[in-house]
């Protein structure tokens, strides 16, 4: 029965819009976040095995790549927070107007970058 159902055109033929971009990014970022939280769980569990094992992870996080990973994760979490707020506002019945939707979409992208910097600096005690 499923094989007889008509198929919608492939995703690639549609012109990119901010709504589709955010929708796809939201799903990808959600998966990245849960993988990151799972790895952080393993990191937490590894603390039980003592200081020597922890040194390897500490050296990784002290490297440029380690810092890049943490800042990137700050962005994925910040983006997810802001886009989730956008979804919750939609659930309340607001923000469906095309123009408003584009504005809130842009606010999510720019806001997530600003939030990433602010939360990282706040976490490091620099602000």
């Amino acid at each position: 029965m499923y094989e007889k159902n008509p198929l919608s055109p492939h995703l690639q033929i549609y012109r990119w819009q901010i709504s589709s971009l955010l929708s796809i990014t939201h799903r990808i970022v959600g998966i990245i976040n849960i993988i990151a939280i799972t790895l952080i769980c393993i990191w937490t569990i590894s603390l039980l095995f003592g200081e020597q094992n922890y040194e390897v992870i500490k050296n990784f996080f002290q490297s440029i790549f380690g810092k890049f990973i943490i800042i990137s994760l700050n962005w994925t979490f910040s983006f997810h927070i802001l886009n989730e707020i956008r979804h919750l506002i939609w659930d309340l019945g607001y923000g469906f107007d095309l123009k408003i939707s584009k504005i809130t979409g842009l606010m999510t992208i720019i806001g997530s970058l600003v939030l990433t910097i602010l939360l990282y600096l706040f976490g490091r005690g620099l602000i």
Binding site: G30, N33, I34, L48, Y54, K58, I70, R124
Partner: protein, 108 residues
């Protein structure tokens, strides 16, 4: 109340709960990620950290399992495969937070 309505409400409730917990998590992660072993032990030994981290894990994995099970619902056509995938997802979403919470309780 319909089962799907309950599931939707629970998903929304967990997403609202996740917002402040994620703010706390990002700030905490930024402050401790390259810290010394002793600093991390001190951080996880605090009751507030144990409580917030445990709450974050329970909420995040609940939200994750609820949303991914919907993706399975949309894209997996075979009922048996879908049931197995959903059960494995739920086991994963219970097992990982549970052993992590158990670990931080034992960190001193």
């Amino acid at each position: 109340m319909h089962h799907s309505t309950k599931k939707w409400l629970f998903t929304k409730f967990s997403s609202v709960l996740l917002i402040p917990l994620l703010f706390w998590f990002i700030v905490s992660l930024s402050s401790i990620y390259d810290g010394a072993y002793v600093d991390l032990i001190n951080f996880f030994s605090k009751t507030s950290s144990k409580f917030l981290y445990s709450s974050l894990l329970i909420t995040a994995f609940s939200f994750f399992s609820l949303t991914i099970s919907e993706v399975f619902e949309d894209y997996i056509k075979d009922e048996r495969t879908k049931n197995v995938a959903t059960k494995m997802l739920y086991i994963f979403a219970i097992f990982i937070p549970l052993i992590t919470i158990f670990s931080i309780i034992n960190l001193n």
